[in-house]
């Protein structure tokens, strides 16, 4: 069964809470029980400030695989979890931005290295989450790893493509440089649980922003596993924070949070985008809209899904003047 038909079979706007497991709980950490050994399951938790807390609500919701089987209970994150995540992001952001571009480049490359090491786990999770075959899942995971490598290379190059020296008509040295916007909220795409998330997250953090990510509501497991990679990749705690839960309970709070500087709503549903954009106005967040052609048809493997101009959506241009004189 393809992920599309699975998603479509749910009533529009229906929550994953309304699903009920067709099969007993299974682990995604491999095949589960082998012979007489009982498998050790993983608890999927939030990722805030470099730690893996459970949601403060103490609540969870069931995550089903594409075939309707129960995969895990994920944290049903809350507004308060978002606040904690924003606080952690705000605290971590200046230090991350202050690292040299070379250093950030190496850290993003390190993420790719560690993802590569967990390649089989990611493939298995994408297969069960998205309901795709091994070949497709392999392409998707490989592309996600390669995407980190690609953005790693931009860390110390994009400022040279978007910065300028401005030949003003006067005796002044004048230049414009990009700086990270600050704390960026990311609404991860619902369907593309891993590649979609990596494609949106990498251009946000490469320049020195910190991110608060709302994972795919129905397919959050690969995202949680990604945070385990981030935690061991020298990405400072708080630079990426990930909340799982129900979008209808979370997106508006992220969009309206007064200490978030930008919102990537590329992964939000088209129906919710206008309300999110309006909520983002309160503190003049930079806002990235969903794709005009619709997210359903968006090809995350296409060349356009990675672009240095995406980095540009989450930077500010600062112009500096100084007189030239003796």
């Amino acid at each position: 069964m393809s992920p599309r038909t699975k998603t479509a079979s749910r009533a529009k706007g229906a929550s994953v809470l309304e699903q009920r497991a067709a099969q007993p709980l299974a682990t995604t950490n491999g095949a589960g029980a082998r012979g007489d050994r009982i498998g050790v399951r993983k608890t999927y938790k939030l990722y805030i400030g470099g730690a893996f807390p459970r949601t403060e609500s103490g609540r969870s919701y069931e995550i089903l695989g594409a075939k309707g089987e129960l995969l895990a209970n994920a944290c049903r994150g809350t507004r308060k979890d978002i606040r904690e995540a924003v606080r952690a992001a705000r605290k971590a952001q200046p230090g991350w931005a202050a690292k040299t571009a070379f250093n950030r480049s190496q850290i993003l490359y390190r993420i790719a290295e560690l993802m590569e090491g967990r390649r089989d786990q990611f493939i298995a999770e994408v297969m069960v989450s998205e309901g795709v075959g091994r070949a497709r899942a392999t392409r998707v995971v490989d592309a996600a790893v390669d995407r980190w490598v690609w953005y790693a290379g931009w860390a110390d190059k994009y400022p040279q493509s978007v910065g300028t020296v401005n030949p003003v008509a006067g005796s002044y040295f004048n230049f414009s440089i990009p700086e990270p916007t600050g704390v960026v909220g990311v609404i991860a795409p619902e369907a593309s649980s891993l590649l979609g998330l990596v494609s949106r997250l990498a251009p946000v953090i490469v320049s020195g922003n910190a991110a608060v990510v709302l994972a795919s509501e129905s397919r959050p497991l690969p995202a949680v596993t990604l945070t385990e990679v981030l935690a061991t990749s020298d990405v400072p705690g708080g630079v990426v924070n990930l909340i799982t839960g129900l979008r209808r309970e979370l997106t508006a709070h992220l969009a309206g949070h007064m200490d978030v500087n930008a919102l990537d709503a590329f992964g939000a549903s088209a129906e919710s985008a206008a309300a999110l954009e309006e909520a983002a106005v309160e503190n003049m967040k930079r806002f990235v809209r969903p794709p005009t052609g619709g997210l359903e048809r968006y090809d995350w493997l296409s060349a356009a899904a990675q672009s240095p101009y995406l980095i540009g959506e989450y930077v500010e241009i600062k112009t500096v003047w100084h007189p030239i004189g003796a």
Binding site: N166, A169, N283, M284, S307, E313, I317, T319, W321
Partner: protein, 507 residues
């Protein structure tokens, strides 16, 4: 160190020989001639290269804020007029402007720049009469910069693929542009020049108090033989601006004005898919370290807050002085304020002209009253003000704390709030403690400190050892609640192009 209380007003030290009362030199009146200026009794809307009456016919009076005398009556656009103007722009984009090769668009823009240069004095005088700004500013800053903007963006019109390689840059369509009254012609140029260079057509709404140089610009458009409908200008109150920016056939919105109105516009446009740039309010920190060249800093402070009567979104309205130089700096600053010549905007010696409107004057007065009420100490030079017109003395507040309204709200008038700091980190903390982030200033002789401060300021423009400099090649725009997008330079060009061909999907 204690902050000594100073008397309310006091003369400059005699050694300066500069205070207004006992200045060793007097300035004879030096009025700019106005006999070559022709202001029509009535201006219609400029739609399709024609001056047309609003439907239904309705006008409002535009006055000279320095004399309160009427200058002209201008058309009060209706919703139907907005539709007409957008339709003209839409048709011009479809049938002529978007099909014109970039090199030909460029030549039209070069023509406009040249005609503005040829008619520069006319523009400067009308601008000063209508806005209240001193003639030396309109003559030496506003008008030359406006012409330079057209000249700069003219050169981009046929080079878009080189500006945005691999992005398939395309024009957006009709740009709706709403501009403020503080730099009427310059803001027009900032808006129209990049829009036309990128292949868009425009409908521009100047502020209702300052439409005259826009209508003078309409005459330049006619002289330059632009195809009808490429530039359209309509006048009316804010509601008409809102009709314009929300019009369904508008693809791009550019607004310069207050943060409150900018937010209203952004909310109305949420979900519309229109590309938006907003250049909004500011409350810039101007930070003076103890190793700064004080006399230069004084000039920079004065230029920062009293330039254009302080009616500047990027004005250096919060002065942060390192405590060890507080007293000498304040002494010099007060003395310098005594030498500012306040009065007739058309006098070539005038430094500070008229506030643009009675409403703005009342707003400035209200905030100044709040500063006094909240316990800050006011200083104003003892200068004479004209008996008519909207004038306000250059004002300085000491003993200001971060929580005072005059330290937090944009005053948009010649009012400076002085605060102090001890360490660079304290200066950074205080300077960034505002929802705004348009500009900042730093004064120090130490190079490494300049760059530390430059990096730390959450502001789109940082002037180091200078202030309030502008250039067409230099991107301008804010962080945080000062808006988004940049104007000027290659960054300002991108704001008028559809660059969605490769990845980017922001506003």
């Amino acid at each position: 160190m204690t902050l000594t209380k100073k008397p309310e007003t006091r003369p400059a030290p005699n050694s300066w020989g500069l205070s207004a009362g006992d200045s060793p030199w007097e300035y004879a009146p030096a009025p700019e001639a106005t006999d070559h200026i022709r202001i029509e009794p009535e201006y219609g809307l400029f739609i399709g290269n024609q001056s047309v009456r609003s439907k239904p016919r309705k006008t409002f009076t535009v006055i000279n804020p320095a004399t309160e005398e009427p200058l002209a009556r201008v058309a009060h656009a209706s919703k139907a007029d907005v539709n007409r103007a957008v339709a003209a722009a839409h048709e011009a984009h479809r049938s002529s402007w978007s099909k014109l090769p970039g090199r030909e668009r460029a030549k039209y823009l070069y023509r406009i720049a040249r005609i503005m240069q040829e008619r520069s004095r006319e523009f400067a005088v009308v601008e000063s009469m209508n806005s209240g700004k001193p003639i030396k500013e309109s003559r030496d800053v506003d008008v030359p910069l406006a012409a330079a903007h057209f000249f700069y963006y003219a050169g981009w019109a046929d080079k878009l693929e080189y500006a945005f390689p691999n992005r398939d840059p395309r024009s957006l369509g009709v740009a709706a542009q709403v501009i403020p009254w503080n730099f009427p012609l310059l803001m027009l140029a900032w808006k129209i020049a990049p829009a036309l260079a990128a292949g868009n057509t425009v409908v521009l709404k100047p502020a209702s108090t300052t439409p005259l140089t826009a209508y003078l610009f309409a005459d330049v458009v006619r002289q330059a033989d632009l195809p009808p409908g490429v530039v359209n200008i309509i006048t009316g109150p804010g509601e008409i601006g809102m009709e314009l920016v929300t019009h369904p056939d508008v693809s791009k919105v550019a607004f310069t004005g207050s943060t409150a109105v900018g937010k209203m516009i952004a909310r109305r446009l949420a979900g519309s898919g229109k590309k938006v740039t907003l250049e909004l309010g500011g409350k810039a920190a101007n930070i003076v370290f103890d190793d700064a060249p004080l006399d230069q800093a004084i000039e920079g402070i004065v230029n920062g807050i009293y330039f254009n009567q302080g009616e500047v979104c990027c004005a250096g309205s919060r002065l942060f002085v390192q405590e060890s130089v507080y007293e000498p700096l304040i002494d010099k600053l007060k003395a310098r304020l005594g030498t500012l010549r306040v009065g007739d905007p058309l006098d070539k010696n005038t430094d500070v002209g008229a506030i643009n409107s009675a409403g703005q004057l009342a707003k400035v007065q209200e905030l100044v009253d709040s500063g006094i009420a909240e316990g800050a100490e006011i200083f104003q030079p003892d200068c004479e003000l004209p008996t008519r017109g909207f004038f306000f003395r250059p004002t300085l507040f000491t003993g200001v704390s971060q929580s005072h309204r005059i330290a937090q709200e944009e005053i948009f008038g010649p009012v400076l709030s002085v605060l102090t700091f001890r360490t660079p980190d304290e200066a950074i903390e205080k300077a960034n403690n505002t929802p705004y982030g348009l500009s900042a200033g730093v004064w120090t002789e130490k190079g490494s400190r300049i760059f530390k401060m430059v990096n730390a300021m959450r502001a789109g423009v940082v002037w180091a050892n200078t202030f309030n400099r502008f250039d067409p090649t230099s991107p301008f725009g804010g962080y945080k609640e000062s808006g988004y997008g940049r104007e000027g330079g290659i960054h300002g060009l991108g704001a008028y192009l559809d660059l969605s061909g490769n990845g980017s999907n922001g506003r």
